[in-house]
Symmetry: C2
Subunit: 334 residues, 2 copies
């Protein structure tokens, strides 16, 4: 056999093997929606270093705590926080049962579809809308209203259920971390009772691993003697900015070794995580993809990323560029 | 062979088998420190019912949440709460660095060993002692002081480290629950930052599964720019009485199916747990054993068990009688 023929024959006979090996490698890629590059490499390298027993960066499984911001980090947050979209829809749903609402300017603005008046009501107006829709009911009734809304509401731009606007690459990252012994937590400025309703189904994160902002809750015996928990119109804890490391301490009681955020509200959490001893991973998702999602940072009202972007650059934290680093953004539709 | 001889021969040849079977059964008893009886049977029956797939009482693993009070339920609480024993020792340890303390009556009473004066200072005095020893330091420094105390302090009656006054039967129960897919939580009136230091080693319960009372914590940048969390002299949350179901909702976000307490401070948690749908288990540890531990209930200043004992009887909750139901109380000394 001529050497070239032989090489060709070998190549042909090896082809199925080669193909199988490529397939195996594709299957074993834990992050298929992440483009190959420095960012993906940094993630995989960190995880394998802390999980390698006997290695200098080894971290015992119990200490492999990973924390993720939610809005803008695990799911989208434009054109307004999804929890606020829920609140606006609830105002419209509940208005017939609450005729007295028509005398309250921010609520009237929502019912009239008068966005200018709503914007003019500012933070106090937003707080009034959140209180009206998030308090004065049992925790069970509130959870049921969130579940009902998620089942029917659609995002104005994408026409999808909000739960289908989670980020596919982050779902893969959460799974990759868990399969390497990490315990994954949400640490969100959003309301903890809102997120817990759907986080387990959407992210595989159970209620007890969700840290968030909360209102006061009161325990009482209902008329029929059954005990119940009632949501009260009083903010109890704001899990944003310096509240994030405080919330981590309060709920988790252990400093994370990995933190992932997307805005200045995550900066303290990233600092707290990065400043611990041993191997650390701090990452920021930079929204750079107006075509597939949105592009915003320093000037945005929602998810402003300014100081944290500077600090990431100064401290060498990982900055994920959505457009460059993500092969896909949302899960493909079934 | 004579029939009797044959029977004897058979008996002799069967003896090793029989012995092996007894040994296997002893090894497979998950609760060897619990006497056989109605209480042990109720526990084993409940756990196997909720864990049996396809059974009418089946509960998915994610919902198998078990909550335990700590003081008097998982470890002893006499002659005074161990956390308060820590605080008194800390007053003595820290007094030389805090000469101004001598002007504060409750602290002076501790330093003088004047228990009558300390008692006279009442709840305000106790709060002053707790504040002096539990605030004004970083969370890391506090955890180190607790660990240091545990390593050296000995219980006045038993001469053991306090961590060795955990209840052996409860350690077995926690393990039994976990091996049946339960997630075990502490829900304690004690300080969460105190318990988290040693709960993982003592009970196999990680920090993120400890719910407790807490003081405010503030995030700040230290002089050297390193971020730190500082404990402030302000009570933030009291995880006792109606605070227990509130704490469960806040930290766990899911109603437990099993709750275990020992005092009236656990009553609301037991009610909240027992009132949920499906199979439920509510249990109270009744301290009835003055010889091996202590006997106290309706009249006790610490761990008073009065209303909850009546309600347990009315509702058919499980009441564990320490003297009758526990083969041993504390772990055997190494």
């Amino acid at each position: 056999m001529h050497p070239l023929t032989r090489r060709a024959a070998l190549a042909v006979s090896a082809a199925p093997l080669l193909l199988a090996s490529i397939r195996a490698s594709a299957q074993s890629d834990p992050l298929p929606s992440w483009h190959d590059g420095a960012v993906k490499q940094a993630i995989v390298s960190f995880v394998s270093r802390v999980a390698r027993e006997g290695g200098t960066d080894f971290v015992p499984p119990a200490e492999r705590i990973a924390v993720f911001d939610n809005d803008g980090t695990l799911w989208a947050e434009q054109p307004l926080y999804f929890q606020f979209a829920f609140a606006l829809d609830q105002v419209r749903t509940l208005a017939p049962q609450n005729p007295e609402w028509s005398g309250r300017p921010p609520i009237k603005a929502v019912l009239d579809g008068d966005l200018a008046a709503l914007a003019a009501s500012g933070e106090r107006g937003a707080a009034e809308i959140l209180t009206a829709t998030h308090a004065g009911m049992t925790t069970d009734a509130f959870a049921a209203s969130v579940a009902g809304w998620l089942a029917s509401a659609r995002h104005p731009r994408f026409g999808r259920p909000y739960e289908r606007l989670v980020y596919q690459p982050q779902l893969e990252l959460l799974n990759f971390l868990r399969s390497n012994g990490f315990k994954t937590f949400i640490v969100s400025g959003g309301g903890v009772e809102f997120i817990r309703v759907w986080a387990e189904k959407a992210y595989g994160i159970p209620p007890e691993q969700v840290v968030g902002s909360s209102g006061s809750v009161r325990f009482r015996q209902a008329g029929n003697g059954a005990p119940e928990l009632v949501k009260e119109p009083k903010v109890e804890f704001v899990d944003d900015g310096p509240g994030k490391p405080v919330g981590i301490n309060r709920f988790i009681g252990r400093r994370p070794i990995l933190a992932f955020g997307n805005s200045d509200g995550d900066l303290d959490m990233l600092q707290w995580t990065a400043a611990g001893p041993g191997a650390r991973f701090a990452a920021i998702l930079h929204h750079t993809d107006a075509e597939r999602e949105w592009a915003y940072d320093r000037q945005s009202h929602i998810g402003r990323l300014d100081k944290a972007l500077d600090e990431a650059s100064a401290k060498g934290w990982t900055v994920v560029d959505m457009k460059r680093d993500w092969r896909s953004v949302f899960p493909s539709e079934p």
